[in-house]
Amino acid sequence: MLIRRPPDLVPSDITPQEVYARRREFIKAAGGLALGAGLGLDALPAAAQGKATTMKLFGVKESPLSTGEKKNSRQEITEYNNFYEFGTDKADPAQFAHTLVTRPWTVAVEGAVNKPRVFDIDELMKLAPLEERIYRMRCVEGWSMVIPWVGYPLAELIRRVEPTGNAKYIEYDTLADPRQMPGVRSRVLDWPYVEGLRLDEAMHPLTLLCVGLYGETLPNQCGAPVRVVVPWKYGFKSGKSIVRIRFVEKEPRTAWNKAAPREYGFYSNVNPDVDHPRWSQATERRIGEFSKRKTTLFNGYADQVARLYAGMDLKKSF
């Protein structure tokens, strides 16, 4: 809530002391966020929870790529998360992710690119116009949600760093800081959490660099301050709280693939015909619904993405 004012006026002059004090406290809680008014960010306390703080995002455009399906509630989206850095129970992230410090935050973009760079999060948020993308999200565990993300195509970032001819894949790392992330102290996975995409998948217009949810900045448990969203793949491909993006020549070894190669392939496209040993992938439970739904190939995005896999055996490259 930093509004441009004549410099000789101090905020306390025009704001009742009590409100002023609370506001200072809030800004402190937000991690000393330096918000430019031009960035279109305004400080608003998070809806219900006192812990994690999110802020309204302005100037967010609608997108024709959004689904018209009924959205899951903010509560459903923020209280049922897989984010092993904060614990393996789906209620853990909502409870423990408030310790994540999202400012300052940088994302290093490196590897096979002509213009490797470290982006500051505030710069990253202004890199391209923000859009709301309402996507289906299908978890490998057999449940799904409809989520209104905010972000812009990852391709916008990729173009700016100019991948070289050797860049065939990208891999992106989640922060792995045991001081902020209690789950990282246990060895459930080989930290940091690495996920990756083939370059053409990463460049696809559906692939999102995501900075928001429900018109506000991302809640910590959903991968603040910046994450990837790939709606036609199982949810674990959509890495959260990204600190590094690397352009590489070889297929990356990703976190779940390393943990159980026969269960989680590199592609992990949503596919009702390729079962996981633990979960049938033919059906799914949409959170909030009683009956199950049939799962669709590429999570219903086949029209847009099937061509990426032309000629591939999806049962082998699962």
Partner: protein, 212 residues
């Protein structure tokens, strides 16, 4: 310190245990009416009933060691109720699956039981529990004869093991919980092995509580 309750006191203990064993169910029902089942209520119910099935199986298996250690032989009179409650929660667990997960689709259930190893194992455990529950009455013990009844009821060791394997195989990566159950089961089964060996060994002194 041999404590033995009067028949009336034992009746009261049994009644209290009966109520206690219904608490998990009561809490589930209460949570269902107050929105306490979380974002994915069906998963919550499946997990809660599964956890209580396995817990009650292990509690049932703890009766004999506890009896031997304390010398409280009357504890054995609580065992049948505990075992039947394990079966009760298994039925709730199975019903949740058949109804809320598979919606009474026999073809889907058969396919699932055959295809997913953790379901195969859980299903086997459940099927094996049925004859034990069916032969739990005094009349059935008499009809089978003590020896045959005992031999049949040794199946509970297998069932509990299958239950732990079922849990182990269904978690994605974090095996902490199934490991705790596995450790508890190992202690309970290990106790029996040691006890048997001691009784067989000619050099051992007179076993404290006999073989039953």
């Amino acid at each position: 310190m041999s404590f033995a309750p009067t028949p009336r006191a034992l009746g009261r203990i049994k009644a209290a245990l009966f109520v206690l064993a219904l608490v998990p169910l009561a809490r589930l029902v209460a949570a269902a009416f107050t929105g306490g089942l979380g974002v994915n209520p069906i998963e919550f119910v499946t997990r809660s009933t599964g956890t209580w099935t396995l817990s009650l199986l292990l509690i049932t298996l703890a009766v004999t060691p506890l009896r031997r250690v304390t010398g409280w032989n009357w504890l054995i009179r609580l065992r049948r109720m505990l075992g039947l409650f394990a079966f009760f929660y298994a039925c709730l667990h199975f019903t949740t699956y058949v109804w809320l997960d598979q919606f009474f689709d026999p073809a889907a259930i058969v396919k699932d039981v055959v295809k997913r190893p953790f379901i195969t194992v859980g299903f086997s455990a459940f099927v094996l529990l049925i004859p034990l529950a069916a032969t739990s009455t005094h009349a059935m013990v008499r009809r089978l004869g003590g020896k045959a009844w005992q031999r049949l009821h040794y199946l509970v060791y297998l069932i509990a093991t299958l239950g732990v394997v079922h849990y182990w195989w269904l978690v994605k990566k974090d095996v902490t919980q199934p490991m705790l159950f596995a450790a508890a089961l190992a202690v309970l089964l290990g106790y029996r092995v040691v006890h048997q060996l001691r009784n067989l060994s000619p050099r051992s002194g007179a076993p404290a509580c006999g073989r039953r």
